[in-house]
């Protein structure tokens, strides 16, 4: 089967809170010194989901698409090293610091149309920077695809996809026809980590770069439909009372008393 996976390069979400900085006037995150950007973890799991089907079927083709600056080549290369077959980077000066998912969807949909025939598009459940969770279902709507969101497992059966979805109170198994769109949740499990040999082999795989004009898009079509008014780090006030005691038992007893005094138990 033929799959397309959308991946995004983001600041490492494991960046410690102390190193997380915002430029309030530029309304953007300041890259933390010495911490390299990474593929959004849910997107790496989307690549993994497509690879598992390809492995199970023994054949298939996976195209990875990323919208981002030249450095986003690294996340495409990572996906190629995981086992994807080729990549597309959409890099255009008009696409700096995009935060509006409408823009992302418009651009990715145009790139997917350019790829042509496919059986399924995979995305992460949300990008771990803006946390919108819009790109997947947005693409499904624009491209007219059946959707299954928050997948913990995806298998192919008789040209259809069987998706186990994560719900807030359990799971649901849904069957959807292709072409389809699946968003992948963290419950899918760890993505494979490329070995050195695969990284070297991936260097020979092709990455095509497109601009907006290559995709037939005008700047007007990628004008944001929302305005980012403010971006800030919320202040948490520390007013903690450390419960003291000479032994763990005494600390436990002191805590129990505090909770009782506050009528919480």
């Amino acid at each position: 089967m033929k799959f397309i996976v959308c991946v995004k390069q983001i600041p490492d979400p494991e960046t410690p809170a102390s190193a997380f900085k915002i430029d309030p006037s530029g309304k953007k995150v300041v890259p933390a010194q010495g911490i390299a950007p990474v593929v959004s973890p849910f997107d790496a799991q989307a690549v993994e989901a497509a690879l598992r089907i390809k492995d199970a079927q023994g054949e298939g083709h996976i195209t990875v698409i990323s919208m981002g600056p030249a450095s986003a080549r690294d996340v495409i290369k990572h996906a190629l090293a995981m086992g994807a077959d080729d990549g597309i980077l959409i890099d255009d000066p008009a696409l700096q610091d995009v935060f509006d998912p409408h823009v992302t969807v418009t651009v990715l949909a145009a790139a997917i149309r350019k790829v042509g025939e496919f059986d399924a598009v995979f995305t992460g459940r949300q990008a771990a920077d803006w946390d919108w969770g819009v790109t997947g279902p947005g693409l499904a709507e624009v491209l007219g695809l059946s959707q299954a969101t928050f997948a913990k497992s995806v298998t192919a059966r008789d040209g259809k996809l069987v998706v186990e979805r994560v719900l807030s109170d359990g799971f649901e198994t849904v069957e959807i026809p292709t072409p389809a769109l699946v968003t992948v949740s963290n419950e899918l499990g760890d993505p494979r980590y490329p070995q050195l040999r695969q990284i070297m082999m991936a260097a020979r795989k092709q990455i095509t770069t497109y601009t907006l004009a290559d995709l037939g898009l005008t700047p007007e079509q990628v004008r944001p439909r929302m305005e980012l008014e403010r971006l800030y780090i919320p202040v948490k006030e520390s007013r903690v009372e450390i419960i003291e005691g000479d032994s763990p038992e005494e600390k436990a007893a002191n805590l129990a008393r505090k909770l009782r005094e506050a009528k919480l138990i």
């Binding site: 946390d131 709507e141 963290n186 403010r230 800030y232 919320p234 007013r239 009782r260």
Partner: protein, 327 residues
Amino acid sequence: MAEGVLIIGEIADGKLAPITRELIAVGSRIAGEAGGLVSVALFGSHAEALAQSAIEAGGDLIYTFTESLLDDYLTDTWLPAAQMAVEVADPAVVLLGQSNVGRDLAPRLAFRLGTDVVMDVTELSVEGGTVHWTRPCYGGNARAVVKVLTSPQIATVRSKSFDPLEPQPGRTGDTIPMESGIDPSQVKQRILGRETAKAEGVRLEDAAIVVSGGRGLGGPEGFKVLEELASVLGAAVGASRAACDLGWYPPSQQVGLTGKTVSPDLYIAVAISGASQHWAGMANSKNIVAINKDPEATMVKNARWAIVEDYRKVLPPLIEELKKLKS
């Protein structure tokens, strides 16, 4: 001109879902400042029976789609019905919950209507008809304030971020019966099975006390001790995403950005460092207790009370103390 607020309602256990009551309160606030009515669209066999409770919760105009095809949420059935509700109500703002339904439906509805959507709103302000939506991003590390430039503005709202209105028995409003006219042959998604997580004891979302564990527990056996503590307190047990991803506890008990939102009177965080993504799910807890070896952990610094100690040494005597206090 488009005005007022339309809420895409949800029904749970034959009742108006708590998130829908919260959305009606948000809608009343927006409509109170920007003008127009608060409309609520309800879907499925219970829709008509629940119209009055939606009115008592603060709704003015209730659209009821009573087709049984809409009983269980599916993108393929709810999307055209929600689209029809928006077209009939012509609202300035459409609200959905940041729920199983809203996460799946809201983006798709926005693109179908040629507008944009703000996901996971936790605060808002209204100025002269414009809504400024605040939402967490960067795993809860940052907040973004955005306004939508296209109409209608669509937003999903995180549960427990806003209080519902006090129900007003006998409040009056109008109910408009609707028919989506969905052709079953156009429904392409097919549900093969559903598995509802066994909610043993208290439901996480409803619990007055939540006891949660994280990666620092060191293994699934740590949750056995938490369950014992929870049973003494009548509490629900939650888990951080790290603990769920490691398979130590079911994902249905996950508290955080990608899990559930809780706002208990007492949140006891055991061996949880307090990553923003976890904080996003429990920030509205009234009182936080942290039990952690690391005095520098975010959870310790931002708790009301903390014990800096290995949980294995503290929990057994704590359970004994609490049993004594309870008896």
